[in-house]
């Protein structure tokens, strides 16, 4: 067993994500969260492994599916939920919604909604850190589909050429929306090996096994932080629910119920909780953790639901930094 405090922290972070997202799934049909929302349920270990291995001062950036990365990096749940509810207390004051999260206090710089779009930006974060001779690194979270964009290739190439402190974190969940890898990438491709071919060291790890993933993330981060340049970490995992929205959709035909069940049996959160229990973490401690997190999550939803909406005038500001500039 790893250090117990660490293990409990990892479990806690995964549980927080799970509970927040189950909370979203439960409430989404109420129609109060009016924005496209991509849940990471089933993928929590990948996010937490990297998020926990990073330091708070490290920077991170992500994609449309960013809740888990934001929370794992230390982003505040109430502000995230308020954002999804479109409230002025949201991390973007309601301007961005679920796909645009930011918490600068936690080093979570942002997430964007265009596939591949945040990869060059994350690479630029790394460039700024290098220029400032900082020991911080920049972590760039993305999915398997992102690696099909030219932006990925160009970012990776530049990061290698300039030896940037960038950690590329690829969560391979086998699908891009409803499209399997087979219609998008060469048969038999192993993404992390392809990246080695580009000249970037890489590794692959079971993204549903938090201990293994955390160890891999620590090694990857150590590589990057020590000035050896960028590193690519692929984490295999699986999204349980539909691409966008709260439902299960194994019935609509793009994947099988069996495939889903096989992955669900490898629930990264429940399996880890069971492992910790086995390894001697007292049941009461775990129960207390649940109670505490449930309260925290409930309070976060409460915050989001009761926060005010932005004033309509907020639709018409902040396009330019200089307030004097007339936007038209």
């Amino acid at each position: 067993m790893m250090d117990k405090a660490l293990s409990v922290r990892l479990l806690r972070d995964m549980l927080l994500i799970r509970k927040v997202e189950e909370g979203i799934a439960e409430r989404y049909p109420q129609g109060k969260m009016r924005c496209p929302t991509h849940l990471s349920i089933g993928q929590e270990a990948a996010a937490v492994a990297v998020g926990a291995a990073l330091e708070t001062a490290d920077l991170a950036i992500s994609t449309h599916r960013a809740h888990a990365h934001y929370l794992a990096k230390g982003g505040r749940a109430p502000q995230m939920l308020a954002e999804i509810y479109g409230k002025v207390t949201g991390c973007c004051r309601g301007r961005g919604g679920s796909m645009h999260l930011t918490d600068r206090t936690a080093g979570f710089v942002g997430s964007t909604a265009i596939v591949g779009n945040s990869l060059p930006i994350g690479t630029g974060l790394a460039l700024s850190l290098q220029l400032k001779k900082s020991r911080q690194i920049a972590a760039i979270f993305f999915g398997d589909g992102c690696t099909e964009e030219g932006a990925f290739y160009e970012s990776a190439n530049f990061a290698i050429v300039r030896n940037l402190p960038a950690l590329f974190v690829c969560e391979n969940n086998l699908y891009s929306v409803y499209s399997p890898l087979s219609v998008r990438q060469p048969a038999g491709r192993e993404i992390y090996k392809m990246v080695q071919g580009l000249g970037m060291p890489s590794a692959i790890v079971d993204g549903n096994d938090i201990d293994a993933a955390y160890a891999a993330a620590m090694a990857a981060i150590e590589h990057v932080r020590s000035g050896k340049g960028p590193f690519f970490l692929e984490l295999t995992t699986y999204r349980w629910r539909e691409h966008c929205g709260p439902n299960f959709d194994n019935d609509i035909g793009y994947r099988t119920e069996e495939e889903f069940l096989a992955w669900k049996a490898r629930d990264p959160v429940a399996s880890y909780e069971a492992r910790l229990q086995q390894q001697g973490v007292p049941t009461e401690e775990l129960a207390a953790l649940h109670t505490q997190l449930d309260a925290e999550v409930l309070a976060a939803f409460e915050f989001a639901e009761t926060s005010p909406f932005p004033d309509q005038s907020e639709a018409f500001s902040d396009v330019y930094t200089d307030k004097e500039v007339s936007p038209s």
Partner: protein, 352 residues
């Protein structure tokens, strides 16, 4: 024979019939073969025409546009689709440096008959990067054609014309139109590109609309009509080529122009229409020409931010009233709508 079907169904039907008519027509894009089949518009195509002619693709919008160009040069008629126009920004090199210029640049010998379907989102949390209406960009580029249907019938007829047109066509589908019903002929007719549609006749003001703004224009015109104010509503259908003759003729009759746009005001197509009318119809104008377009701000995600953002029929009525020097209470128009401001109707419940 015609019957009532939706805009989305009309597109689907057009694709089926076009592929049946010409074996060189192919259809591809992210999700065209998935269970959601691009809001139903590509349903059944793969099953009927096979995996060679109908296929999903890597998330690689730039190269896949070039692939369409290359195939088109060699006789294929690719129809590519993007679930949001915003994604297609990755492909501007291929579009502008390639497709738009190919014919001119190589001495007029090869054509590039591609059709690119772009869906434009609005409301319900689409937010800054899933809601852009950049027709003004495309309309600025010599060599491109830009189609913006407003009705189910036109969706079918204009898409057919686009597919069988020999030049690159951007076919812009407003997401708020996919569920609009209309009388659509069962046969595959090609509605000519470049001919506007006179939707309402009148003498008070010429209202020029495109895509979803035509829907709001019709609402406004019908409301005004009940008050005895008859506006002419011209649905542009295509904004490049743009039916200037129809615009000028109408303005010559009414002496007043109100140009609508689904895009940001500054640099909009509506602005171009105002400019041309000012330059060409100077002597005929009885009042300053006007336009109504989206604000010069991104669309926010929160419903609170879209509430006052999009101009609607009420604003059109207000503008017409101002141009005529009258006072009209347009508020009944807003009150009529029985669903939230951020959806096109009851049928839409997110997420895309």
């Amino acid at each position: 024979m015609s019957r009532q079907i939706t805009f989305a169904k009309a597109i689907n039907e057009c694709l089926h019939q076009s592929m049946a008519e010409d074996p060189n027509v192919i259809v591809y894009g992210l999700g065209v073969t998935d269970p959601k089949s691009i809001f139903g518009t590509t349903a059944g195509l793969e099953a009927r025409f096979g995996k060679e002619r109908v296929f999903d693709m890597p998330t690689a919008e730039n190269a896949m546009t070039g692939v369409a160009i290359g195939a088109a040069i060699e006789g294929i008629r690719p129809v590519m689709v993007h679930q949001r126009l915003d994604f297609f920004l990755l492909a501007m090199d291929q579009l502008v440096n390639g497709a738009a210029k190919w014919r001119y640049m190589f001495g007029g010998q090869d054509s590039v008959p591609i059709t690119i379907r772009l869906i434009m989102g609005r409301g319900w949390g689409q937010g800054p990067t899933h809601s852009q209406n950049l027709q003004a960009w495309f309309a600025h580029i010599p060599g491109l054609k830009v189609v913006m249907p407003a009705s189910a019938e036109d969706a079918k007829g204009l898409l057919a014309a686009s597919i069988f047109d020999d030049d690159p066509v951007l076919f812009l589908e407003h997401r708020w139109l996919h569920n609009v019903h209309g009388d659509v002929p069962e046969t595959l007719n090609r509605t000519p590109l470049g001919k506007a549609r006179l939707v309402r006749e009148g003498d008070a003001v010429t209202i020029v609309g495109m895509s979803y703004m035509t829907v709001e224009a019709i609402r406004a015109a019908d409301f005004l009509s009940n008050l005895g104010i008859h506006c002419e509503v011209l649905d542009l259908r295509t904004i490049r080529p743009l039916d200037w003759d129809a615009v000028f003729a109408s303005v010559s009759r009414t002496g007043r122009l109100l140009a609508l746009d689904t895009g940001h005001a500054t640099g909009s197509v509506a602005g171009e229409i105002v400019a041309r009318v000012a330059m060409e119809c100077w002597g005929k104008l009885k009042a300053a020409p006007q336009r109504i377009a989206m604000p010069d701000f991104p669309e926010g995600t929160s419903p609170a931010l879209t509430k006052g953002y999009h101009p609607r029929a009420e604003h059109i009525v207000d503008a017409v009233a101002r141009m005529l020097g009258r006072t009209i209470d347009a508020s009944p128009l807003g009150a009529q709508r029985g669903y939230p401001h951020d959806v096109p109707g009851d049928w839409f419940n997110g997420p895309f």
